[in-house]
């Protein structure tokens, strides 16, 4: 049975993981992407996402080095995102060793980027990452969220569900939904928005933003009228700060009746 995925996400700037990663204080170098990737591999995380927040040319180059070093040493799926604007960016990151590339603002600016990347490299490596925010006061059509870009600063006015559907038509293989109202609150994923996207597309949906406690993962991954219907859950701070570990989340989900990949050791 296909299992629900738990995905830690790491922010990278100029080739180093930034933000305080408290869980890894006992490691010699908590900013080294490879050290952290190996630690999460040991926890049997299902995938890893590295998000490049570098603004400089040198920093972008260092990100390629990060992808290459991690892909050489870690036997797990690796997604890289941040500042991807062209097919050439896809090619560079894939050649470096990334398995999937996530696009966000670059695809909003030029939706054909999704189509071109999908035609060149296959839908399986094109993750459409969407930052969405609830419309103030809702919307008469019931379409309640708009797409934001530029790290969330700019409201494009694009309807979330329409954009997700368009992304699917253009050839995205997966949708990663970050609901900004929930992001960083640790008050739980936005179940309503996640469910709406999961119902609007036939693609796997990764829920992002808002993870705080074990029940949040269950709620967003389960189906039914109240669940988020997500296929995977992405989280950053709860893992980095050691509030939760990946095995702990999986043990909880298993007890709650959700399919997860169990810990495995060779006989």
């Amino acid at each position: 049975m296909l299992t629900k995925r738990i995905i830690p996400c790491l922010d990278v700037q100029n080739g180093r993981v930034v933000k305080n990663v408290r869980f890894f204080e006992d490691h010699r170098d908590a900013g080294d992407p490879l050290t952290l990737a190996q630690a999460y591999e040991a926890q049997q995380a299902d995938e890893l996402v590295f998000y490049d927040i570098t603004a400089t040319h040198e920093g972008r180059h260092l990100m390629l080095d990060v992808a290459a070093r991690v892909a050489e040493q870690v036997m797990m799926p690796l997604t890289v995102g941040g500042g991807v604007n062209a097919v050439a960016d896809f090619r560079q990151l894939l050649l470096a060793g990334a398995d999937k590339i996530s696009v966000n603002s670059g695809a909003v600016r030029r939706p054909d980027l999704i189509r071109e990347a999908s035609e060149h490299f296959g839908a399986q490596c094109v993750v459409l990452s969407i930052d969405a925010k609830r419309r103030p006061g809702g919307h008469p059509d019931g379409a309640g969220w708009t797409v934001h870009v530029g790290g969330g600063r700019q409201d494009t006015g694009l309807d979330l569900l329409a954009w997700a559907e368009q992304g699917q038509r253009l050839g995205a293989g997966e949708i990663c939904l970050n609901v900004m109202d929930a992001d960083g609150t640790r008050a739980g994923f936005d179940l309503e928005a996640t469910r709406a996207v999961a119902r609007a597309v036939d693609l796997p949906v990764i829920a992002s933003g808002g993870a705080g406690q074990l029940a949040d993962f269950r709620d967003v991954l389960r189906g039914g009228d109240a669940g988020g219907h997500a296929d995977a859950a992405l989280a950053a701070s709860v893992f980095h700060f050691g509030d939760l570990t990946v095995p702990q989340v999986k043990a909880y989900l298993k007890a709650e009746g959700l399919p997860v990949r169990p810990d495995w050791r060779d006989a």
């Binding site: 296909l2 398995d99 296929d231 060779d266």
Partner: protein
């Protein structure tokens, strides 16, 4: 054993071979990556990766001149490991590209998953393997074991093989197979953590080294 088992990993532009090369090395093999079909006749074993559209993968394979030499080697009993579309290529053809013949080493047609409620295509993620018969790839492997899949097409169970692994995604399908000297995995062993490493190690131990530890 003093000489490490050597494999020739075919690089014909259908996906990145670095992760696969590194994983094969971790499993104890010496890996030679080659885009030159002249290397094939001397190779003790072949690893055929593949990623992307069936037609484009077959065309790239043919364009690099691998078709003939790989057929000769495979029919001559050289051990071969196909990965992902490298597995699908072993069959006669695929619903993904009607009119594009596969290698035809194993009769049968690769099929597409149906989109259904609760069933998304591609299948993307970790799914379980159940052993069918005694494939050397899975010998003594603790099951259920989970491997990482990314695919929209699959080898159906009506394809006859000696042994393999079965996985269920709406339909049961061959997620790994062994047929004489041919072995293959639909999942990505190089992305499947400890399970992937265990399966590649078994390919070395039971196929290349004939059972030596």
């Amino acid at each position: 054993m003093t000489v490490k088992s050597e494999v020739l990993l075919l690089d014909y532009g259908a996906g990145n071979v670095r992760s696969a090369a590194r994983a094969l090395e971790r499993a104890g093999m010496t890996v030679r990556v080659s885009g030159d079909p002249a290397d094939v006749p001397h190779a003790p074993a072949l690893v055929v990766p593949g990623q992307g559209h069936f037609r484009q993968v077959m065309e790239a394979f043919d364009r690099h001149g691998f078709h003939g030499p790989v057929m000769d080697a495979a029919q001559g009993g050289v051990p071969l490991l196909g990965i992902c579309v490298g597995m699908q290529m072993l069959l006669s053809g695929s619903e993904e590209a009607p009119g594009t013949p596969g290698l035809g080493l194993i009769p049968g047609t690769v099929r597409r998953f149906e989109v259904a409620p609760g069933q998304k295509v591609p299948q993307m993620g970790w799914n379980s393997l159940d052993k069918v018969g005694d494939s050397p790839l899975l010998r003594d492997l603790a099951c259920p074991a989970y491997a990482y899949f990314v695919h929209s097409y699959y080898v159906p169970l009506d394809v006859e093989v000696d042994a393999g692994a079965l996985t269920e995604y709406g339909v049961p399908f061959w997620s790994a197979l062994s047929q004489a000297n041919l072995h293959a995995a639909q999942f990505h062993p190089e992305k499947s953590g400890a399970v992937g490493l265990a399966i590649l190690t078994r390919f070395r131990r039971y196929v290349l080294e004939g059972g030596a530890a």
